[in-house]
């Protein structure tokens, strides 16, 4: 598993330091903190805003903004296809993109657990840098705290972000209309199952990789071309596709019909879900979005999405209806109908 998890192609070599583990002193604000920041964080993430090294960043932005924040507490912090660092960047970038915004600036706060290996911290930091480059955003301000061993889980990260709203975006539940099509941008459930495959006590051999990736590029392309035909966007992270569709149905007071046969899922992911008795509709994604799109443009949207490898499995999975408000109905692969409800708590492994 290790070879899957730790990508050793670091672009920035780790600095030679006289410590190999994070200690409480690194969060004290004193010389150790300074040493850590100077040797690593500032160099890796360097940009004109961060280089000001002030208490906060001063920025000039025009027009309406979106502002979002999220905390990342994933276990394990390294998983097939990524780590907590890129997840923390992509997650906030994607939340902004779902608002129809073009993400620009992020804040980044670490809560490190005493004893975290510096090699691991470095790996995470490098991933953060790579993810920022990929998404085209800057980390402009940040913070580092250290908590005693046992009071954290290696590392917790909080990122907040701002971005300007795309000039053609009118993303809002109020824009959702009966007849609109429901599109998912790519195969579902990969992230959640990648995490499951390395979770302690559950480890199973698989080639499933997390789908963590920035979605702002794909979303910008759609907004450039289709503008206000994109009525709503949401990324189905925690709680998966089913939870997001329920939120939309309830917030917009509409019904949603979806068709199991049209929901894209990789066979390896579907098999892993079967083995563990989990419903992929409730499994987390980190690189997929749901778009509610004007019916007349839906086919063109799917075609455009499929041109890019990151959204190659885009599919129209259903439509908005007035017939069963606030309820999501699924037509199963064999033609039966059932409700897709909200999940109560986490999906739990079952007895037999």
């Amino acid at each position: 598993m290790e070879k899957n998890v730790l990508k050793m192609n670091l672009q920035c070599p780790m600095p030679q330091l006289d410590f190999d583990k994070i200690t409480l002193g690194h969060g004290s604000g004193g010389t150790l903190t300074q040493k850590l920041l100077d040797s690593g964080v500032f160099t890796v993430l360097a940009n004109p805003y961060l280089n000001q090294k002030h208490d906060g960043a001063t920025l000039t932005i025009q027009g309406p903004l979106a502002f979002s924040t999220d905390s990342y507490v994933i276990s394990p912090v390294f998983f097939p296809g990524g780590n907590i660092g890129e997840l923390a960047v992509n997650g906030t970038v994607n939340d902004l993109a779902m608002c129809g915004a073009l993400p620009q600036f992020l804040s980044l706060s670490f809560i490190l657990e005493e004893g975290l290996l510096l090699t691991e911290f470095w790996e995470i930091l490098t991933s953060i840098k790579q993810a920022c480059d990929k998404a085209g955003v800057y980390v402009v301000t940040g913070d580092t705290k250290v908590v005693e061993r046992g009071k954290g889980d290696k590392i917790f990260i909080t990122t907040s972000g701002i971005g300007t709203i795309h000039p053609r975006a009118t993303i809002s539940t109020a824009a959702i209309e009966a007849g609109d099509k429901v599109i998912v941008s790519h195969s579902i459930a990969a992230h959640g199952m990648a995490i499951m495959s390395v979770r302690k006590g559950l480890e199973f051999d698989s080639t499933i990789m997390s789908d963590t990736r920035p979605l702002n590029g794909s979303v910008k392309k759609l907004l450039d071309e289709f503008g206000d035909a994109i009525h709503f966007l949401r990324d189905p992270t925690r709680g998966g596709v089913a939870s997001v569709l329920n939120e939309i149905a309830s917030d917009a007071s509409v019904g949603i019909d979806i068709y199991q046969k049209d929901i894209p899922i990789e066979e390896s992911v579907a098999s892993a879900c079967e083995i563990l008795g989990l419903d992929p509709l409730y499994v987390a994604n980190e690189g997929v979005f749901i778009a509610i799109v004007k019916a007349s443009q839906a086919e063109a949207v799917v075609t455009r999405l499929r041109e890019s490898s990151e959204t190659a499995h885009a599919s129209c999975i259903g439509e908005i209806t007035t017939s069963h408000p606030r309820q999501v109905l699924l037509t199963s692969a064999i033609g039966g109908k059932r409700v897709v409800n909200r999940l109560t708590g986490e999906q739990l492994p079952r007895i037999c």
């Binding site: 559950l202 109905l329 199963s332 064999i334 033609g335 109908k337 059932r338 708590g345 079952r350 037999c352």
Partner: protein, 362 residues
């Protein structure tokens, strides 16, 4: 995935539905015994596709649902008061005891771990020699071999801080109890495929003969279930009663003799209380006296009073097929998966949970 796609084939499903439609001339009430079958029926929308004349009622085959409330209280007590590491299958931990569930106890700081296999618990016991580790051994004949094996493994490795809290239940006595119930409405059974995978078919012939009731051992995928129903209806329409095996790709007539040997070695049959139903003679497994050292019931002294069930919960009637989940006055109101009155609302095999999550109830 091959077996899955083949047994979820829409064309086959349509053909079987037509067969059932054509064969059925009068109303029949059929019970699928296993909770896994119930969930598949509801989750795949099969209940919306079957002809009205075919009424499916849902059986007691949900181990979590029938685990007595005082055993859950006992598990909570062991975790909280005796400070054991309490290991459990996932769907047991949300089931309400008389005052709290294992999940509540976990939130209060008890060391409760969700495992996929009891052998994991033996490993935890080996790694924590200064702690007692108890596995909550719940289930039908399907989970009994693994639970028994964990005891044998612990014994072989000389591990003394491991024990199991058994709540094993057996299917055939429960089916007889349902048939003998004066309110019984079941005319034919889809028997539980995976239970028969272990136990084989021998136990079922006498029931079919004695009560002249048709029975088809059935799998869990849409095609399995519809084929099982089609076979059963054919028998019912012809006034026939025999035991048939739809799930022959998995179920051998002789079951799994190796697994049964392991069960036999560690467990012996006993009377057993079923939550919501009552005590059914010879319907459970108890650890044999020779393995008493691994029996959490004997190892720990537990003084808790026997709690009463919530009076508003009709789980007992649901588990005997007398009522459907939505016929309960509290369904989806006072009783939801987040705040359950009874176990069938939380278990992944519980009929109430299946209806709550998947069924469109008027």
């Amino acid at each position: 995935m091959k077996y899955l796609s083949e047994y979820r084939d829409p064309a086959l499903v349509e053909k079987l539905l037509k067969d059932i439609e054509r064969t059925t001339t009068k109303p029949w009430t059929i019970m699928e015994v296993c909770g896994g079958q119930t969930h598949s029926l509801v989750k795949n929308g099969l209940l919306t596709l079957l002809p009205d004349k075919v009424r499916m009622v849902h059986g007691p085959g949900c181990p979590v649902c029938v685990t007595p409330i005082h055993l859950i209280d006992k598990a909570v007590y062991l975790a909280e008061e005796k400070k054991v590491i309490l290991c459990s299958y996932g769907d047991m931990i949300r089931v309400p005891g008389s005052s709290k569930s294992l999940l509540d106890a976990k939130a209060n700081g008890a060391d409760i771990r969700i495992l996929y296999s009891p052998l994991e618990a033996v490993k935890i016991a080996a790694e924590n020699p200064d702690k007692e580790v108890v596995f909550f051994a719940v289930g039908f004949e399907t989970t009994a071999p693994a639970n028994a094996l964990s005891v044998l493994h612990a014994q072989r490795q000389g591990i003394q801080n491991y024990s199991i809290l058994t709540s094993h239940v057996l299917v055939p006595p429960a089916m007889e109890a349902i048939i003998n119930d004066e309110e019984n409405i079941v005319q034919g059974f889809l028997a539980a495929g995976h239970v028969c995978t272990i136990m084989g078919l021998d136990e079922y012939y006498p029931i079919v003969e004695k009560y002249k009731i048709p029975m088809v051992v059935t799998g869990f995928e849409p095609v399995d279930l519809l084929q099982g129903i089609a076979m059963l209806i054919k028998q019912l329409e012809q006034g026939d009663y025999k035991l048939e095996n739809q799930y022959s790709r998995v179920v051998e007539p002789n079951g799994n003799p190796e697994a049964r040997k392991v069960i036999e070695k560690v467990f012996e049959p006993s009377d057993r209380e079923w939550r919501g139903i009552g005590t059914i003679p010879g319907s459970g497994f108890e650890i044999r006296p020779s393995y008493a050292a691994y029996d959490a019931n004997k190892k720990f002294e537990v003084n808790i009073s026997k709690a009463a069930e919530n009076k508003e919960c009709i789980a007992g009637q649901v588990l005997r097929g007398l009522k459907k989940p939505h016929e309960c006055s509290q369904f989806g109101k006072k009783c939801t998966p987040a705040n359950p009155l009874g176990a069938p609302m939380v278990s992944s095999e519980g009929a109430c949970a299946a209806y709550y999550h998947y069924a469109q109830v008027e």
